[in-house]
């Protein structure tokens, strides 16, 4: 039986993702989340794990380089790749919020103005404001988004909050929830057809392992 290739997200979701696969029988051997190896073969022979940047995971799965993947729904919404998303894994829960510097918290979003918003999620941000009927200019950043309103690059940000510490420490207050996010199990479309029984059994076992 060939191995199913699984793309796992480096970073905050990795530990839970590995634990989840351990509960369904995968064995990572000596690999830990601090290891630098990028490809790890499960010692039971069922899986091959690839450690990738979260934003790249939908790409690996859509192109079939990985049959399966685990990634936050924030990334899935932003990347809009054509993959199957059979399961909400209910860990790594966090929110995407619109935040402003605290001194502007009382200002209203104005229809006549074009607001500048810095974010790692330009697609989600544009969709959100389009739905509100507001025009915005989104500025794509790759990290430390909180810096943008402090430095004057943008008026507001759309970013992920788990605890809210970073925002608070930088004098930002959330004024609206744009989306909520949690880890998802995703599957390549062709793999889902070609290994239907194996993947469906895995989905069922993962479903049992996921707290309700």
């Amino acid at each position: 039986m060939n191995r199913l290739t699984v793309a796992l997200p480096k970073g905050r979701l990795l530990r839970s993702a590995m634990e989840l696969f351990q509960t369904v029988g995968a064995d990572f051997g000596s690999f830990t989340e601090r290891s630098r190896k990028l490809i790890v073969d499960d010692t039971t022979g069922q899986y091959r794990f690839m450690m990738a940047k979260p934003f790249d995971i939908p790409t690996y799965v859509e192109y079939g380089t990985a049959d399966l993947g685990i990634v936050g729904s924030d990334v899935l919404m932003e990347e809009a790749r054509d993959v199957i998303e059979p399961l909400d894994l209910r860990f790594g829960e966090c929110r995407l919020v619109l935040a402003v510097p605290s001194f502007r918290a009382s200002e209203e979003l104005a229809r006549h103005k074009i607001h500048r918003i810095a974010t790692k999620y330009p697609r989600i941000t544009s969709r959100y404001f389009e739905a509100l009927g507001l025009q915005v200019e989104t500025i794509k950043l790759y990290g430390s988004v909180e810096l943008a309103p402090l430095s004057g690059l943008a008026e507001m940000i759309v970013d992920l909050v788990e605890t809210g510490r970073t925002m608070k420490d930088n004098g930002l207050v959330p004024i609206a929830e744009v989306a909520s996010s949690s880890a998802r199990f995703i599957v390549n479309r062709a793999s889902h057809k070609l290994y239907f029984d194996r993947i469906n059994t895995l989905i069922e076992r993962l479903t049992e392992a996921v707290p309700c």
Binding site: E62, Y63, G64, T65, A80, V83, I84, E85, P86, L87, D88, V187, N188, R189, A190, H192, K193, L194, F196, D197, N200, T207
Partner: protein, 425 residues
């Protein structure tokens, strides 16, 4: 080389528009070989070629049920809106309903050509892609559906593909579940979207909001697991409640029966969970998958109302092969070897006539023979032949002919005499 190639480094190299691709060298060779194989299978089943224009009136394509967002449009001198075809079946349906309407049916047509689809906003797909396909027109019987599926399987097998399968579904199964629920179109497309992603959580939330009966809910969730061999039909019969769904299952079973007479069922998966498909499908829907391709390599189905939209009420079933995907499966698995030049014929000017007739003779024997048209030393000729992967050089001289085999990757002219086969006529 008497004239040196001139280069203009100061001029920027011309760029392709995004979404366009050149297909060159081995890729082009394999592509045309794939098309040749497919054509010969199609013809052997009695299909004849139909060629339609690359562009059509925009309205024709809209009438054909195609997505306006996918079309690349432009206008003609009268201001009529035109579009590059995003699909080859709608144009075939137009032709059948108009110019071929008086021909006896069933009619079997095949086509090959390029389709054009506007890429998504991230521009990662290519705009132009090659397709070939077949349409069996004027027969509503399961035997027609089975014939198309059988040709699909035979074609892939003849191309040398090993790990492939055909997933068969039926649009009526899903339609039947929702038929009695009387939902607005927006709700149906939302349900379809969750089923398409197999997102159980999303489907749960969506159904909760729609206050559907537990029966409908059970059928929709059951649908997600209905994929496998023949037993899927019985599982589905126990689950489905509407007449439409049950009729669809009967139809699928008849098609499956015929495919088992074709002895092809080891390639067939019954896949009722698939709700994706072009807007014009009315019955059987199928897709072909290979383990070496991340997406489907062919798709097809029954479209009994499409030709009617162009004025001729006539059932039809067909399928289209994605040539680009098939080519990449073939190349990944090295199923076809790109053809090399067998022999390079070189001669001094004094022996040209003899060289030309020798080359003709070689070609008549089925070899690929290339003529040396530029004056080169033997050393240069060997280097050229090596770099081109040419198998042998036929050196015609005043002292007679000799065939020199070009050892791969051995550019040194030194051992000519050693590898000289001494083949003189």
């Amino acid at each position: 080389m008497s004239t040196q190639e001139k280069r203009y480094p100061e001029r920027a190299a011309p760029q392709l528009p995004s979404g366009a691709q050149d297909i060159l060298l081995h890729d082009a060779q394999i592509k045309s070989e794939v098309l040749e194989h497919l054509r010969s299978v199609f013809r052997s089943w009695g299909y004849i070629e139909a060629v339609t224009p690359t562009f059509e009136r925009y309205q024709t394509l809209l009438d054909g049920g195609l997505d306006p967002a996918s079309m690349l449009t432009f206008s003609d001198c009268d201001g009529d809106l035109l579009a590059l075809r995003p699909d080859l079946t709608a144009p075939i349906a137009r032709v059948v309903a108009t110019r071929l309407r008086d021909l006896p049916r069933p009619m079997r047509l095949y086509y090959q050509g390029h389709i054009f689809r506007r890429p998504g906003d991230d521009r990662r797909q290519s705009v132009e892609s090659a397709q070939a396909g077949i349409e069996l027109i004027g027969a509503e019987q399961a035997a027609a559906d089975a014939e198309i599926a059988a040709i699909a399987v035979e074609s892939l097998a003849r191309l040398g593909l090993k790990d492939f399968q055909l997933n068969l579904g039926h649009i009526g199964v899903f339609q039947g579940i929702l038929a009695e629920a009387n939902l607005p179109g927006s709700a149906v497309s939302e349900i379809k979207q969750w089923i398409d992603r197999k997102d159980r959580n999303g489907l749960t939330r969506c159904l909760r909001d729609l206050s559907l009966t537990p029966g409908v809910r059970k059928q929709l969730f059951g649908l997600l697991k209905l994929s496998g061999r023949r037993e899927v039909l019985d599982q589905a019969r126990r689950l489905m409640m509407s007449k439409i769904s049950l009729a669809a299952l009967d139809n699928l079973e008849s098609i499956y029966e015929i495919l088992s007479d074709y002895q092809l069922t080891d390639r067939i998966i019954l896949d009722l969970a698939e709700v994706r498909g072009l807007g014009y499908y009315t019955g059987l829907m199928f897709e072909g998958f290979s383990r070496s391709a991340p997406v489907r390599i062919l798709s097809g189905g029954r479209y009994d109302t499409l030709i009617g939209r162009f004025g001729l009420d006539c059932p039809a079933v067909g399928c289209a092969f994605d040539i680009g995907q098939i080519r990449s499966v073939i190349q990944t698995n090295r199923l076809m070897v790109p053809q090399q030049i067998d022999v390079l014929v070189r001669c001094p000017a004094t022996h040209r006539s003899e060289a030309l007739s020798t080359a003709t003779e070689l070609r008549q024997q089925g070899l690929r023979a290339e003529l040396a048209v530029t004056p080169r030393t033997m050393e240069e000729t060997l280097a050229y032949a090596t770099s081109r992967g040419i198998q042998a050089i036929l050196d015609i001289t005043a002292d007679g002919d000799r065939m020199i085999s070009v050892a791969r990757g051995a550019p040194a002219p030194e051992p000519i005499r050693d590898i000289h086969k001494g083949e003189t006529r």
